[in-house]
Amino acid sequence: MKKTINIIGKISIFLAFSSIGGLIYNMFFYERLRPLILGFKDITAVLESMQIPVALIFIFLFLFHALTVIYVFLQIVYFKREDFLRALAFFLSIISMLMVLGDFALLNDIGKEHAAGLDTSGEWPMLYASQILHFVFLIVIIILIFMTFKKIRRDRQEVVLKDEAVFINAQYIGILSGLLGIAFFGFLLLTAELWAVKKGIFMVSLISILPYLLIVAYWLIIKVREKRGPWYDEKQYIDISRASLFTMVTSLVIMTVVYVVQYFIQSLRFLEIMWFPFFFFLVLLLFSASTLFFSKRPSG
């Protein structure tokens, strides 16, 4: 596995720098397209000259992201130590990969709305936000690859019968998923119409939760394979018990405050449609953050 990680790392570093070039080309394409579309002008000339390279870049970016998901996952399997950067790279690789598909869908929507003579000013900020996410992901993955080249050389593999690294990494990813879910809904609340919220609520929830579901699924597989006593050891039991109590009390207090606020301020009646996703991501964030906190702090 060490050799595979090294080989994929070397391929990925080359592909990562190529992806930066691809993203810059796409940004150039969007910047040529946007003023024409917002001004309801003809876009045929721009499309004819640039649409094939852009389509190829989309395919390239998607395949590169898929490779990095495998690469980071192999690292999680191989290295038996927790690592925030690795957890962040795993989280971002999945979100960024899904957003490559999201970019494609957004461009399709923009094209259709432009053909129908509709305003597309709402879609462009989302498209640009997605490009920022891709750039952030590329920076993180490049740093991770270079750090892994160093780490893997001096790594001394130890037999680990009871895993803790995936448990802690799952808390990091839970925090990131919770934050992203709450940020997404905050963004929707501030910028989108109710119909758009209703339309996007399931997709946004799925994108936000997918990295956490995948890491928890992997943790479950490890636990089934371990066949060695209880799934948690005694410190983990105490840590998650404390985290559960903290999560219950804090989420009840926060939800009560939110309920009271929206009861008196009619314009903030987002709970009607968003109370469950908000509560879900809030609980995920609080539970993951408090489990991580208690894991690292004195207890017992």
């Binding site: 019968l161 803790e164 410190k235 207890s299």
Partner: protein, 74 residues
């Protein structure tokens, strides 16, 4: 019986080095817990259960009170 506050301390780090410089991970594997739990016990950040204390002591062929002891808080 005085009411002075006491903390559970241990000689695990010393014993690990006396027993062939075994790592925290090796000890964790032997007693069926995670490395982080051994690390926390060793640094007096987590009080182990009686079962875990006996398992750790057994691993070093010591009595529990030779590995764990109560120390007055400062």
């Amino acid at each position: 019986m005085d009411n002075k506050s006491q903390t559970l301390k241990n000689n695990i780090r010393k014993l690990r080095f006396e027993y062939g410089e075994i790592s925290q991970q090796e000890l964790a594997n032997a007693v069926g817990v995670t490395r982080l739990t051994i690390h926390s016990v060793e640094n007096n950040k987590f009080n182990p259960s009686v079962v875990l204390a006996i398992k750790i002591s057994d691993y070093f062929n010591k009595k529990v009170e030779e590995v764990f002891y109560l120390s007055d808080d400062d």
